[in-house]
Structure formats: C-alpha cells, structure tokens
Symmetry: C2
Subunit: 218 residues, 2 copies
C-alpha cells in the first residue's frame, strides 16, 4: 500500500479526519458519506471512492462508525504517533509558528528553533531555545527531527531546505515565498498567502462596484 493512491486523495484525508473529530465531540456515533460530504462541500461518491483505496470501513444501510473511521484515518495518515518539528527562521512568522498551540495536540511537537540572527540565538521562544542555523545539521539527529518548517526570507529558503535534505528530513512545510527544489521522495507543501490572494483577484476583476441598497437597515 504505497503510492498508487492519487495525491489529491491524500490531501483530502486530513479534512475528513478533522470533521470526524468534530463529530466525535458532538457524540455522533454514525455518519453517512452523504452527511460527511455536506459538511465538507464534497460529493458523497468522492468520499466513498477515496476511502475505498484503503479498505472497507462502512456498514451498508447505516454508514460509518465515527470513532472507528477516525481511528483508521489517523492510522493511515500516520497521526497515531508523535512527530518532531523544527522551525527554521525565528522572525515574526517563525515565532508565531513556534508558539502556535495547534500543533502539539495533533502530535506535531516543535522541538527545535533556528535562526542566523545572533540577537535571537539562545533566546527562548515559547518552550524552545533558538539555536544558530549552523547547528541545524547536528540538531536534526540529536532532536530526531522528522519535519522542517521553513520561515526564513525567500533568498535563504533553498539553502535551508538543502540542509534539511542533507540531514534526511523528508517533509518540509515552506512558508518562504520562493520556489524550492526537492527530490521527489521528499514531501513539500507551500504556504503562501500572497499567491492565494493573487489567484482570487483574477476572479474579482469582473465584479465591479457591487450595487448596494443604500440607507435602509434590515
């Protein structure tokens, strides 16, 4: 069970898992692909098809056991274990990421932070102490880093990524607004709000000065 699974399917599984977590909290026991789809803006057929790549998790006539399906998905995604994350770049963005309280509860522990600014090195940010980027290479092994989050300025991004690659890190989340190259056995995700904004404005161009009913308050 390796990689003949469509990329897009893997990108959707975490969304399914998130909705299921919500349903667990609502104490829902069972859910249909129909309802899951409605909550996710995805067709029921797509959900069933996606899940079918991994096995048969549902019961005909009723649907899926919320708890069971969530456990399955978490196992499939490798979320039933802890991951050690390094944040590289401890500027405004890096600091925000290091302190972000949403990672740890999901098993992503920020265990290291790195920056090349001497004013930041040895300072504490959240629970970790910032180290020099020179130490990154050694620290990856020491700290057992599995995942790198890159939050350095664009021109430095490729260098940092190259170091991570050399250390055997196989998953990189890149916040730098730069294209970085990785071999295809390495996972890379880009987070870039500007690209997102710029792709939305394309569709906004036509929508000029939307008529608004003036005065009357509903």
């Amino acid at each position: 069970m390796a990689d003949q699974i469509p990329r897009v399917v893997v990108l959707r599984l975490p969304m399914y898992a998130r909705v299921l977590s919500g349903l667990v909290k609502e104490n829902r026991k069972v859910v249909s692909s129909q309802e899951l789809g409605a909550r996710l803006q995805v067709t029921p057929a797509q959900i069933r098809k996606d899940l079918s790549y991994f096995g048969k998790f549902g019961k005909q006539g009723s649907g899926y056991s919320v708890k069971k399906l969530l456990v399955e998905l978490r196992s499939i995604l490798g979320l039933d274990r802890e991951w050690s994350v390094a944040v590289i770049g401890a500027g405004r963005l890096g600091k925000a990421l290091i302190k972000y309280p949403g990672f740890a509860p999901q098993g992503f522990n920020v265990v290291g932070a790195f920056d090349n600014n001497p004013h930041l090195v040895n300072k504490k940010v959240g629970k970790v102490t910032v180290r020099s980027i020179d130490q990154l290479e050694d620290s990856v092994q020491e700290l057992g880093i599995n995942v790198g989050i890159v939050a350095v300025p664009a021109p430095e991004a490729q260098n940092v990524v190259s170091v991570l690659l050399r250390c055997g890190v196989k998953a990189i989340l890149n916040y730098a607004p730069a294209v970085v190259q990785v071999p295809k056995d390495v996972q890379l995700r880009e987070i870039d709000p500007l690209l997102a904004l710029q792709s939305m404005t394309f569709y906004l161009k036509e929508t000029r000065t939307p008529r608004r009913d003036r005065g009357v308050r509903s």
Copy 2:
C-alpha cells in the same frame, strides 16, 4: 474572457508572475518557457498552454519578453490595482497578518482589523486600529473592503464569513481550521498548516529510521 479557464491555470499564474518579478530584478530581458519551467518545476508545455488561454505573448525563436509578460500577467490577475483587505481576528495570528510587510508592496493594503475581544478593540496594531466585530458590517463599505482574511477561532469562522458575504465581499482567505461555506461566485482559499502537515506524514510512514552513516564527517 470569463471562467472557462481551468481553475488550476489561475492558481499557477501568480507563481509565474513571481518568478518573472525575480527575473526583472536580475535584469533578464527574455525568457523561454523552458527556463521558466525549470525554475518552477513545471513543464514548458504547461506554461505555454496556460498562457495560450489569454493570448500570444511570446516570440517564436526567442521566447517571452520578461517585462511585457509580467505586465500582462499582472493585468490578467488584477494586480495592476490596489485591494483593500480586512483582517478579522486580532489574536496572535491576526496580529502577525496585520503586520506582515509582504502584502502592501503587492497591492494588498490591510485597511481594517476586527476582533470581539474588548481588550483589543481600539488598540493599534501596526498601522490600523482594531475595531469591534460589530462594526465589521458598516466598515466594509466605509473602508471599501474587497478581501477578507479570517483569523478567528474555528467555531466563529462561519459567522464571520457570513457577515463578509452579506457585505458583498467576494474573496476570503480563511486561516481558521474549519470548513466554511460560501456561494460559488465567492472565492475562498484555505490556509491550514495542520492539514498540510497531516498530508505529508502519510508519505513518511513507510520511511522508517533512515540509515545514517555514523562517525565519518565529510
């Protein structure tokens, strides 16, 4: 020229524009789809095909004028004008977004910030003063908001989005880890580092304890 253009194409155009900006700075006059592709990890054919949806911008035998193509793309994407952005939620993340210095140079001006926490209201963050979320509806018109960035806790996200929709905002960048529903004439982009991380770990599962050559330092 409306919307028979594939979604994915529109998502790629901003990347092209970004690389072209870089080339302008390097004083490159001309570029081929070949080279553009190499810098972006995209096939040359794809670039040519993508551009062909909008016109003929290249010269056979030589390639594309860097400057001219950039101007064209910026015009196509609606980046040759200014956009007014509201950030809703002025917590840790919201503050970072409000202060992010990368938006303004690209024509995205954060002109309003909103939060429902009384301790934050009327406080200055960066260049803007935080207003109460109650004022959001009126402010959208007053400030001419075109784009909303949502950085509130997940449970509040849909409410905030609904207000934005009521005000006629047609582009929303959602940082809240929640699925929000919008009509299809509204553009929505999601930014969620956790989903990104969780989709990477799927591929990491198999890669166990990568053998490292011990001792010898290269």
